[in-house]
Assembly symmetry: C2
Homo-oligomer: 430 residues x 2
């Protein structure tokens, strides 16, 4: 669907679901070991983001400059009717729509919050953005946003992943970021580990520890997080707010919205504006998170307080969690590999507003779903997004069998141009 | 600039420049060895494309179905003002605009003609599209278009390139194409060469020969060409026709249009509608082709009859040519590596309407131009497109020095997600 730039600019604020939730979001807690994680986070994070984290305003104004940066990054992004996919699936009673977050400059939805976080840091006169990255999408998005604002960006990247994704680190470096394979020689944490093993493969926990240590020691820095936290999901609501306008423009309304979910930022961004209206009894709609059995936090996790990171630097958050030190198998869709779901999504799951389904680890059917999408609609989706496609196809077929007239919307969170080796390995093994 | 779907659909025909040229385009000629190349081409090509090749109508209607396929492929594509690049270059009197052909499903402008050719083949009840590919962009685009129309696609791909671009062949295969490294065992030409050397590296000439032999022996096939010929450039005018509407919507008009040029299809598609108005004295505008010194056909070539292919299967066309058997050094921007410029572009060059500039082979400044574009505008351009960016930056600085108020428009013919190894090699050698 067409959305004009003027219509896009009429979105003047992010939607913050906190005040519409069925109960107040359980607040972050200290683990009780005498070290205040909340104070620590307050110290290393952007002030604005930290305060947005607990804001009760349902609308958080988007600075004009951020709206312009979104336009620079190609927003608004289209919502398409998947007519060819419908035809392929012989759907008569079900309509399919998809949102194109893959059109972002770095190839995923992560730029949406990266732009906002970079802007707030710049506004607070910080000059350096620090982060860690696992799959690499977040590090790339933050590198991009930092460059737009003229800030430095330092990315600590799990060494094992850094090594097999040279293209993504080239992209971060092209954007001017400094990329350190983690463990690195930049921090005490890193140096200690390198002394033991010069070729230490690293882990997300180590990368987080390094990033936080690095940021804490530098006044000019802020530490940026790419998922899970409330402010991140709030920034991502630009996806759903656009989609809502797009659906209104064609007088259509989704009955089921689907996104893939690791930590929950693309899923949350897509569904929250709609979920808020469901909570305010203004619409009916169901929400389905598509997960991998490698990290089925919403499906098999417990709803309890847990750390958001392996290295126990964050406060405890109430989430559906598999345990912050759980071992998760390596998968192609490594953006889905996270032990817990964002607190907001977890609460919605707890109340039955969000449902979840976990698919076998990188099973061929997942890649087949991406292939069917490519062959019908023509677009190469990221392996993560292919979980959402798969879930949409399954749901469509179930509705169709029951002859239910339904509208399904799913989010293509990213493109797969840098994931072609994974597609080759799964679909064309030689 | 915004262009609504309705505005896009109001483009009802391609622009064919033939009747507006300062002299009739010199017709194709037979080499005089007793074998009619024209009859051969007529036999293997789509009837519609063959007749479009010599059409004198200035408007060739675009079938509604083709327009719909363009929309499926994400058209219209934006035209952006490069405000951040202008600021970086400290431009005060010069404005820069760029067109986003990189947003195509396969990552380049090649889909524009692929869609049209696939449609006409389908309409003529053919079931197989045959082609050769060098850099791989054309093969990918045709694979995509074939799939949209439910046709088979067979690509003969120079073995040496096929081997070092596994990602691109994965993409072709995902679209369902059959990709044969050439020389292959599918043709007599190929089998003969493989007998001599099982690991023959192949060449574009061999791939063309194989494709033509394969197509000639199969009634259900058409052979498709991705550049140089008149009908290909005509199909590509969708780029310029859109850009013209976009410029009109902001009451702006380019003084200089720039594209990279190998054979001339993205350059031609971008400029021809504007060049036609220049020829009809309806506007003033200059046109600059950015080339590589690896294949400076417009800069150093002779304007004479030559074969369009190394294997001498095509008729002779009057073109600026380096000679159809010239050796061209390998370059990163291998889409620019072609011995001659399209007859239409060559004639316009001959009359001084198109100018050309050739840059040193993959010099760092070319990659730097892409990096500057990435760091300011945020988008990763293909190495080919970076020649256009470089030429636009140079032209802007020259105008600025002379304080001339000028509007420059350049075309981003493709994205660089599959070219990151090339960027790494040039900009971050380890």
């Amino acid at each position: 669907m067409d959305l004009s730039i003027d219509d896009f600019y009429s979105i003047k604020s992010w939607y913050n679901i906190l005040s519409d939730l069925p109960e107040p979001l359980p607040p972050p807690k200290e683990p009780g070991d005498g070290i205040s994680r909340i104070k620590f986070m307050q110290k290393v994070m952007s002030r604005t983001c930290f305060s947005q984290e607990s804001s009760s305003k349902s609308r958080i104004p988007i600075p004009d400059e951020v709206m312009k940066l979104h336009v620079q990054a190609g927003r608004p992004r289209p919502l398409y009717r998947a007519r060819r996919l419908e035809k392929y699936l012989k759907l008569k009673s079900v309509k399919l729509y998809y949102k194109r977050e893959d059109l972002s400059p770095t190839g995923s939805h992560k730029v949406n919050t990266a732009i906002a976080q970079a802007f707030f840091a710049w506004k607070e006169r910080k000059t350096k953005l620090i982060t860690e990255t696992g799959a690499g999408q977040w590090g790339t998005a933050l590198s991009y946003a930092a460059k737009l604002l003229g800030l430095e960006c330092v990315v600590f990247w799990v060494r094992a992943v850094y090594k097999w994704k040279p293209d993504r680190s080239t992209l971060m470096k092209l954007y001017g970021a400094t990329v350190h394979p983690s463990p690195s020689d930049q921090t005490e944490t890193g140096r200690k580990l390198l002394k033991e093993n010069m070729d230490h493969p690293g882990s997300l926990g180590i990368a987080v520890s390094e990033g936080l240590e690095y940021a804490e020691k530098r006044e000019e820095s802020v530490y940026c997080l790419g998922s899970v936290l409330n402010h991140v999901l709030t920034h991502q609501t630009i996806i759903g707010l656009e989609a809502m306008k797009q659906f209104e423009s064609i007088d259509e309304s989704p009955d089921l919205m689907i996104g893939c979910l690791g930590g929950g930022s693309n899923f949350g961004g897509f569904i929250l504006p709609f979920a808020g209206e469901v909570l305010r009894k203004k619409r009916t709609c169901e929400f389905l998170a598509a997960q991998s059995m490698a990290a089925p936090n919403l499906v098999k996790g417990q709803y309890r307080y847990d750390f958001a990171d392996v290295s126990e630097h964050t406060p405890l958050l109430k989430m559906y969690t598999l345990g912050h030190s759980v071992e998760m198998p390596a998968i192609k869709a490594d953006g889905l590999r996270y032990h817990a779901a964002a607190p907001i999504i977890s609460l919605l799951r707890h109340y039955g507003i969000v449902k979840a389904r976990a698919y076998p680890i990188d099973e061929n059917e997942i890649f087949e779903a991406a292939r069917i999408f490519l062959k019908t609609e023509g677009w190469l989706a990221a392996p993560e997004s292919s979980y959402a496609i798969r879930a949409a196809v399954d749901a469509a077929q179930e509705f169709e069998k029951r002859k239910e007239n339904k509208v399904i919307a799913f989010n293509i969170s990213g493109h797969g141009f840098l994931d072609l080796p994974a597609y080759k390995e799964k679909l064309f093994p030689s």
